[in-house]
């Protein structure tokens, strides 16, 4: 397969993957991804587990009626659906703005270079 031109600083041969891996855009992509996905995961897991923990520890609180027959527990459970819709929406918007352009850029850049080097 296509090996890319030698790395200018070290002089060793770099494969396409290594070249992409060292590209500042790829480094930035990795960093952005990490900075978003783990905090987001912690957030929704904590929000979700709070429902289960409260259901176990505070059935009275959960059974408190807020509006008519609607208990706090049922509304909290419904809010999980809203939370899921909002997190999915925020994630999608973030990915479109912060991830997709970088990924498309890298694809564009290296697809061409690999082709040239290969032929």
């Amino acid at each position: 397969m296509a090996t890319l031109p030698h790395d200018r600083s070290t002089g060793e041969a770099v494969t396409a993957t290594e070249a992409v891996g060292r590209d500042p855009e790829m480094v930035e992509l990795e960093a952005r991804h990490r900075r978003f996905v783990w905090p987001a995961t912690v957030f929704f897991l904590v929000y979700y587990m709070a429902l289960n923990v409260l259901a176990g520890t505070s059935p009275d609180l959960m059974g408190t009626k807020l509006f008519g027959e609607f208990t706090f527990g049922y509304l909290f459970a419904l809010s999980q659906f809203a939370m899921a819709f909002v997190v999915a929406w925020v994630y999608t918007r973030w990915a479109k703005r912060r991830i997709d352009p970088l990924a498309a850029d890298l694809r564009q850049k290296y697809r061409t270079r690999i082709k040239e080097a290969g032929e």
């Binding site: 992509l29 929704f44 991830i99």
Partner: protein
């Protein structure tokens, strides 16, 4: 014509019509027919509907409605967990998996590793998770047939499970290999339509007042306000936490859901399909409120448990009640319709599970391990068929023992197994540089057998409420093993990595990250595989 015969005739007509639509739909387009081979051309929204079809099983339709109708609030927690679980899929797994894999879940797990050990372990856990999941579907189908045929007693219940199980497996093995995407899409639409219809009619009975529905359900349950609060099914916090963990983490480890992401062309399409699934599944699960509390108020505890002691028939009985009650034409008609929807639901899920498990066994174990990668498609298909029959037979046998259980509860166990066996290795493969082959294999095997063992020595199989050693206490106190088995799976994968001498697969990790995050290798896979490239 007796009521029984009328329901049954109508049910048969509905089921045949559904199968007819499926066959017709799958012939209308070439996309569905060739999606496994020439794939990656399914559109995002189509895949989203298909994922919903694969996901909303007997557990969602029959099981949750049953749990809510008998225990009120606690049953609804299943609905919440099974929806929020899609955030794990969306944020951590779907897009990276789409770019990194090809046909089966093992493609991603084995990407950086030595192929044969990891593929063998992944095939085993795919089959394991699928069997537990199938058992639940068979239990639901058996209960449905028992209700429709008006059977009574244990022998008849087992007979119903065996009969309907054999029919389904034969249909899937010999007829349903093509066009499963359309089975899922047709089924998802039917299920949504049936559920919306039922929900609206239930609400109409209460003058479109949810307050009245909740109040009537609480009164009819005999539990009063406790019915609207947690604690009737799961009084212990630890049990709720264990179940919650299994539900929220299990979906991202379900092989039959994960392989759906291979059918779309890009990571963005994978993202879109999860978003569609979240929308559809979310709406469905919110409506389980009406099915469950509606059945509690209108059908009542006694009649629900008389038909099936775990409550699995609450939904169909609710339909019969709304249609005009047992013995009326409207009641028989609506019961037959909802029963047919439930049957189509189960059949579609059985198809998805069986095909995933048998193709993983044929592709990851038979072709990669036994034949050492030598291609023989005819033999692979033959092995897949035999595996499907074998898996089906095992599921039927276990289902006849599990027949007294609630379907949602049983599927909750499959989620615990999936979260324990598959999720640690999926996440470590995608996110942990140091991860090794030994870690992957240990993680899968310890998670798989650990979770299965804890179920077997748990209160539903062992001890006074279980199947064996009824005189002694169960060795493990929790019904769902998630809180122990999921950390155990992660710990085993970590320890297996730290204790092994093999070098970490760091170079391949970088390759996987590039491919997963940018789609760079993924798109080029057909022309110039980057896999071979790194070695040359």
């Amino acid at each position: 014509m007796s009521d029984q015969a009328l329901s049954l005739t109508l049910f048969s007509i509905f089921v045949l019509a559904t199968l007819g639509i499926t066959v017709w739909a799958s012939r209308q387009t070439k996309t569905a027919a060739d999606f496994y081979s020439a794939g990656r051309r399914i559109r995002g929204w189509q895949n989203g509907v298909a994922i919903s079809g694969d996901y909303m099983s007997a557990a969602s339709f029959l099981g949750i409605a049953g749990l809510i109708s008998l225990f009120g609030y606690d049953g609804f927690l299943y609905s919440v967990g099974w929806l929020v679980a899609y955030l794990t899929v969306l944020i951590l797994v779907a897009e990276l998996l789409r770019n990194a894999g090809k046909y089966t879940m093992a493609d991603v797990l084995a990407y950086r590793m030595r192929q044969r050990p990891v593929r063998s372990a992944a095939a085993l856990s795919t089959v394991g998770v699928s069997i537990v999941y199938l058992v639940a579907q068979m239990v639901g189908a058996g209960a449905l047939m028992k209700l429709l045929l008006g059977l009574e007693g244990d022998t008849a219940a087992i007979g119903a499970i065996v009969g309907v199980g054999v029919l389904m497996i034969v249909y899937v093995t010999f007829g349903g290999m093509i066009g499963t995407t359309w089975v899922q899409i047709v089924k998802a639409l039917l299920l949504m339509a049936g559920t919306v219809l039922l929900s609206v009619l239930v609400l109409a009975k209460f003058g479109f007042s949810m307050n009245k529905m909740f109040a009537d359900a609480a009164t009819a349950s005999g539990k009063g306000d406790a019915f609207l609060a947690p604690g009737l099914r799961f009084p212990k916090t630890i049990e709720l936490v264990s179940l919650g963990l299994a539900l929220v983490l299990g979906t991202a480890g379900l092989p039959h859901i994960l392989i759906r992401f291979y059918t779309v062309p890009t990571a963005q399409a994978a993202r879109r399909s999860v978003n569609w699934a979240i929308g559809i599944i979310g709406c469905f699960y919110i409506m389980t409120t009406f099915l469950g509390f509606g059945a509690a108020a209108l059908v009542g505890h006694q009649r629900i448990t008389a038909a099936d002691k775990a409550g699995n028939m609450a939904g169909p009985l609710l339909a019969q009640q709304i249609g005009g009650g047992a013995g009326s034409f409207g009641g028989d008609l609506f019961l037959a319709f909802i029963a047919a929807v439930a049957f189509a639901t189960i059949l579609a899920v059985v198809a998805g599970l069986t095909i995933t498990a048998s193709s993983s066994f044929a592709h990851d174990f038979y072709a990669s391990v036994i034949r050492r990668g030598e291609r023989d498609e005819a033999a692979e298909v033959r092995v897949a068929r035999i595996t499907a029959l074998f898996i089906g037979a095992i599921a039927i046998v276990f289902a006849s023992f599990a027949r007294g259980q609630n379907v949602a509860f049983l599927v909750g166990l499959a989620f615990a197994v999936a979260a324990s066996a598959n999720l640690p290795t999926i996440l470590f493969s995608l996110y942990w540089k140091r991860f090794t082959t030994s870690g992957a294999v240990t993680g899968i095997l310890v998670g798989l057998f650990g979770s299965l063992l804890l179920v077997v020595v748990g209160p539903n199989v062992m001890g006074p409420k279980g199947l064996f050693l009824k005189g002694s206490d169960p060795l493990f106190p929790l019904e769902n093993p998630g809180i122990v088995s999921i950390p155990l799976g992660f710990a085993a994968a970590w320890l297996g990595t730290m204790l092994s001498r093999e070098p970490a697969s760091e170079e391949r990790y970088e390759e996987l990250r590039v491919r997963a995050l940018t789609g760079l290798g993924a798109e080029e896979a057909e022309v110039a595989p980057t896999r071979a490239s790194a070695r040359t």
